[in-house]
């Protein structure tokens, strides 16, 4: 049975990739299991400068999922290169996916250019859900033209495959994906979190210090799946699907919708062994559904 897939020219042993923000820079999980078992993983959203992020509470529970308002806390790209990547080298020998965030085109370009020089980095995943400081706080990902601008600018400074990570907070996800493909993207990943809120009945105020937070977990899965399906019809580059994945069945469902690989987010937080469990279950579930080679089912639901 074949579980390997090719993601933007790089072969990965299986399509299971822990999602950015739920796997740190890898070594917390290396205490639980050998993370070389993963296809790869996407490291914490990294910015040009260090960021502390939002005040706490940053986490709220909801039915079948969670809200987070971490606010892109990370040590900044220089520290990632000088501290996190060398530490990662001791526990992970595969190419890693570098997740990048920014608040201006220049931020993205700077950070991607710095990561382009790192041999441990296989892919650059560009999170365009961040607000554009030059655009009245509008996220780059909500407008096809700004999404394309980021893509073009980043492509100029790196030879690594660039995967643009889309925000689901848009009316026409396929249009944004096409604009990124036309601008040179090598792949599309989706979805980032949806925007939600929780109110504390005792204090009668939003529970999160940031008031709103990103919704993820099984609650978002149907939305994510629908979007992957729509994007598959609009682009011909590989898609990395995510949103609420918690089982090998979910992986197959996303691949049928059009994903070449998948990311697993919140599930890692509640079950640190989520990804190795899914990887171990895959052959059995493939057999159950008569699948010999995972690559053959990509987009199979269309």
């Amino acid at each position: 049975m074949v579980t390997s897939v090719e993601l933007c020219g790089i072969k990965i042993d299986n399509p299971v990739i822990p999602a950015s923000g739920t796997f740190g820079y890898g070594y917390e999980f290396a205490e639980f299991y050998d993370i070389n078992k993963l296809g790869t993983f996407s490291f914490k959203g990294t910015t040009r400068e260090p960021r502390f992020g939002n005040e706490t509470p940053r986490i709220a529970e909801c039915a079948s999922g969670m809200l987070n308002a971490v606010g892109l806390q990370n040590p900044g790209v220089e520290s990632v290169i000088n501290n996190e990547l060398p530490k990662l080298k001791n526990v992970f020998s595969k190419p890693v996916m570098a997740n990048v965030s920014g608040f201006s085109i220049e931020d993205y370009v700077y950070t991607c250019a710095r990561l382009d020089g790192q041999e441990q980095v296989g892919w650059i995943e560009v999170n365009i859900s961040c607000p554009n400081v030059h655009g009245a706080g509008m996220s780059f990902g909500t407008d096809a033209e700004s999404a394309a601008q980021v893509t073009r600018a980043v492509k100029e400074v790196t030879d690594k495959p660039v995967i643009i990570k889309l925000s689901p907070k848009v009316t026409n996800i396929a249009r944004i994906a096409s604009a990124c493909e036309d601008a040179g993207a090598d792949g599309i990943s989706l979805i980032n979190t949806l925007l939600g809120m929780k109110i504390d009945l005792k204090t009668r105020r939003p529970l999160l210090a940031n008031k709103t937070g990103g919704l993820s977990g099984p609650a978002v899965k149907p939305v994510a799946l629908r979007m992957v399906y729509q994007v598959f019809e609009a682009v011909s580059i590989p898609i990395v699907g995510m949103g609420g994945i918690a089982s090998a069945e979910d992986v197959i469902e996303f691949m049928l919708a059009g994903a070449t690989a998948v990311e697993v987010g919140a599930q890692n937080l509640i079950d640190p062994y989520a990804c190795p469990r899914i990887i171990d279950d895959l052959p059995q579930i493939m057999q159950k559904y008569g699948i010999d080679d995972l690559s053959e089912i990509i987009g199979g639901a269309h």
């Binding site: 923000g21 706490t56 986490i59 529970e61 971490v70 977990g217 937080l269 509640i270």
Partner: protein, 243 residues
């Protein structure tokens, strides 16, 4: 840290809305007083962090207050019930700094983690004092158990229905101690910091996504950069805390 399945061996009400649960199983990852476990409960997406009150290599004791759906579900569990638990989380208290006369200060649901610390310090021959603070007599627990460790126990209630009337700090300011360890609600921790005359350690709570350092959900600023309450804490030293 370790992921394991623990079996409930007893689960009893010990005070108003307060329960003591004993669990059996592989608890070898719990090695320091002040660490916590993170419990998966069916029907709830996130795990529930609860401090370890007492431990051996194959059992833990937890004391928890029912404040919402998750802890209410816990209170209904019967002996024999199995729980998926992450054990041995957090740094715990550093007992090497205690000096000869350490003072422990616990408020409400913050009292439990001080129990295994009191046992450890008295076993080292330290003269341990502990102040237990509650709102009212109905909430009081642990007085006898702490006394049995050999510690000198001071009980306070806000309404005076048991022990000394007032706050833990009313007693604390009269005592002569070499170091202190505390856990309790945030206003109490601030008050303790306000009157303490020595160095000490504070245990904090924060809403958690993972409980093992991966999500950055529980970060706080300290004098030495940010720390994660779940992994670099929950215990922080007085000199590093930014209030």
């Amino acid at each position: 840290m370790n992921e394991t399945v623990l079996r409930v061996t007893s689960n009893k009400k010990i005070a108003l809305n307060t329960y003591l649960m004993k669990l059996d199983g592989d608890c070898s990852a719990v090695t320091v007083p002040g660490q916590f476990v993170n419990i998966s409960l069916s029907g709830f997406y996130l795990r529930r962090p609860i401090s370890v009150c007492d431990y051996t290599s194959d059992s833990v004791t937890l004391i928890y207050k029912v404040v919402g759906g998750g802890t209410a579900l816990m209170s209904e569990l019967q002996p024999g019930a199995k729980l998926n638990v992450l054990t041995g989380l957090g740094n715990g208290y550093d007992d090497t700094l205690s000096g000869g006369r350490p003072l422990l200060v616990g408020g409400g649901a913050g009292v439990p983690p001080l129990y295994s610390l009191a046992k450890k310090l008295t076993a080292q021959g330290k003269k341990v004092m502990i102040i237990l603070g509650f709102n009212t007599a109905d909430e009081v627990f642990g007085e006898e158990e702490f006394r049995e460790t050999g510690a000198e126990v001071f009980l306070t209630t806000v309404d005076g229905s048991a022990g000394t009337k007032g706050f833990v700090t009313d007693v604390m300011k009269e005592l002569d101690y070499t170091y202190f360890y505390t856990c309790g609600p945030m206003p109490m921790l601030r008050a303790v910091d306000g009157i303490a005359v020595t160095d000490g350690q504070f245990s904090f709570e924060e809403r958690m996504g993972c409980g093992f350092g991966a999500c950055m959900g529980c970060s706080c600023k300290t004098k030495y950069g940010y720390k994660r309450i779940c992994r670099d804490g929950p215990v922080l030293k007085r000199e590093e805390i930014v209030w």
